[in-house]
Symmetry: C2
Subunit: 203 residues, 2 copies
């Protein structure tokens, strides 16, 4: 409390507090990884009582989920405007994904979140549930028959791109511009979402 007062912070509104916690979590997670960041450190950085993190997010799992979901919302909000899938849905999804994740700090956050999900069964479960439950349903709701499989196939391409670009940092992928990636991968995603689908009863 003394620390907070000394730094002259004003009392925060509920929205401000939640945003401040998220900002600090993003900063600390991308620097040192999820496993090595404590809720207490996040609370100190955000200038709030640690109990407030539990109040807003329930747990570190909840904070992880909120961060992934917030990014996912931003990616989708750039894509899913109308009720019908546009013909350039793939380009839109890839372009929106890169807009949200391609910044320097965002890349580091992606790498931190992904590494955590890959090495921690609990976070992997949270991540898998988000994909299987929410993401597939949201994209599928504007799709067509067999959409669960279509969205999942699209995700394999987008995740593979993000891992090569942000985590493994494979040279030829890192060097591509956003426009080149969008032009290359966009038609793939469009085909997965709208093209003929083998073994799924036709297109």
């Amino acid at each position: 409390v003394y620390e907070t007062k000394r730094r002259g912070r004003r009392p925060k509104s509920m929205g401000d507090t939640r945003a401040a916690i998220m900002n600090s979590a993003v900063k600390l997670f991308s620097r040192t990884g999820l496993d090595r960041t404590s809720l207490r450190e996040i609370a100190v950085d955000a200038g709030v009582d640690p109990a407030l993190i539990l109040h807003y997010f329930g747990s570190k799992d909840g904070l992880f989920l909120a961060m992934v979901r917030e990014k996912m919302d931003r990616v989708l909000s750039g894509v899913l405007g109308g009720g019908k899938q546009p013909r350039d849905i793939g380009e839109r999804i890839v372009g929106s994904f890169l807009t949200v994740w391609d910044g320097r700090d965002d890349r580091r956050l992606f790498a931190a979140l992904f590494r955590t999900a890959m090495t921690n069964e609990r976070f992997l479960g949270v991540f898998r549930d988000l994909i299987q439950g929410e993401l597939i349903a949201r994209i599928g709701s504007i799709g067509r028959g067999g959409s669960e499989r279509r969205v999942a196939l699209s995700l394999t391409q987008i995740m593979g791109l993000a891992i090569a670009r942000y985590v493994a940092e494979v040279g030829p992928i890192v060097r591509l511009s956003k426009e080149e990636i969008t032009a290359s991968l966009g038609p793939t995603i469009t085909r997965y979402l709208q093209g003929p689908m083998p073994g799924a009863g036709g297109p």
Copy 2:
């Protein structure tokens, strides 16, 4: 030595010894991960002197590299027969990749190797060098202009598939048959390797 004799192992030839070490490494790595498996444990399991592992592979990094390369060789040997890329190169690559990795134990090995590469900077470097140096050159040698980028794009799709199927175990991807995956992803890889390439000076 006593242990080895008691179990009645005969002296091994060089090829046998190397293969025995690899087999034990595959078994132990897929069970407990690379980081938590010691060279000594591998030696005991293979019934050889630990010094022989260093003799054949140099280090644990070398053993990791040998395992990845051996799998890569098997994937490529099923694909790269002649001198010219066949028109169904994508289907061949995806089919061969699944043949090599889709077995139950192979999936677990993939997950163990991938998790290690994602969390250990040294292994990630070994992995990146293998992709950037060897793999891209080998596939690119039967490719066309811009082939480094083409191969790298293909890799993003194949790695994304493998991570969803073997590591994250995303339901709709796990449930696909080999044939469905090959039919869905094959044309993507073929397009990346042979189709028009934006920003790369044409096809």
